[in-house]
Symmetry: C2
Subunit: 197 residues, 2 copies
């Protein structure tokens, strides 16, 4: 990516800010008005930015410019609460969403859960955390998973030994679980925590 001139940097910055504020790209004339420039001058700047790879044009659409590394977020439904100590599940209606960068979700089928309990505290998963789970994923020993054991869900570490699945808490005060009726729902891919107050 070539060097940008000062003016080009400013124009690019304006486009960035404008999009962050208004959720749409500015028109050529809106850029011109901000910098008190003519339309043609702005067109030249845009062309320069485009040839340097800092800007993408999508045909002749209105507001049809785009930024190469634009961040994209998609809603992931918070389906309920998962108890990380003993077992508990409360699947509610999905009225709550957490927005995750698509670089993280990568088109995988995901959902989110609120954590209760302390069985995974040594792994840094504490009450109130929101965890994002990717469904139908291959899991390996040591992965943190959400599993259904005899119909109830839990967050645990996954281990498989001689075709037998063990679900371990990282908190040593809880024993490992094993059962003939374990279904792995998905694998932890993300965690967010908000400190309020």
């Amino acid at each position: 990516m070539k060097e940008l001139t000062d003016k080009q940097k400013k124009v690019l910055q304006f486009i960035n800010d404008f999009h962050a504020d208004n959720a749409m790209m500015p028109t050529v004339r809106e850029i011109a008005a901000y910098f008190k420039l003519s339309i043609g001058s702005v067109q030249q700047h845009l062309k320069a930015l485009q040839s340097k790879g800092c800007l993408i044009k999508r045909g002749s659409l209105s507001r049809g410019i785009d930024l190469p590394n634009r961040q994209n977020f998609s809603p992931v439904a918070v389906l309920g609460t998962v108890h990380a100590g003993t077992f508990l599940e409360q699947v509610e209606d999905a009225n709550d969403y957490v927005y995750i960068n698509t670089n993280v979700t990568r088109n995988r089928k995901c959902f989110a859960l609120k954590v209760k309990g302390d069985s995974m505290e040594p792994s840094g998963i504490v009450e109130g955390d929101t965890i994002v789970v990717s469904q139908g994923e291959r899991v390996y020993n040591g992965d943190i998973v959400v599993a259904l054991v005899d119909g109830e869900s839990a967050v645990k570490m996954f281990y498989k030994e001689r075709d037998r699945i063990f679900l371990k808490s990282s908190n040593p005060k809880y024993p490992a679980i094993t059962s003939d009726n374990i279904e792995i729902v998905g694998k932890l891919i993300y965690l967010v925590r908000e400190y309020k107050g």
Copy 2:
């Protein structure tokens, strides 16, 4: 918010998806093309959605519709690493960013740090986590803060007793810190963790 008709729901959904994919709102004609409708019909749907509070129009701008609960994200620079065991700071150039919902940052001045060490593990803060810190904030006993102690930074719990500041690790194997030279940089407001592999 009144009930939406099936068609109105579909139109709203399309607008939502279109914006997520293209970072811009569709034009009336683009909506019409998708649903194989006339322009006027779409206008009517938009008017209905607007009167029901599910859509906002910004004057007569091209692509000038907006969604009431649109999520907005702003970049927060990851300035370096903070050691949560002993002390350590490496402020690098800000080439790394984490994108945080503006509902969380709320116009506050923020930066982010990568965590190393285990001194805050019982509080759910482990190595590799990215923490978001709000600067210049009033802090209270028990808040988790980033502080400068004799010029080096740390993540600790804040306590003040008789005008003396104590910085405690939640991991009991580290002693509490106190010094005449403690500067509170900011308060933890958010934490994200990505599980890779």
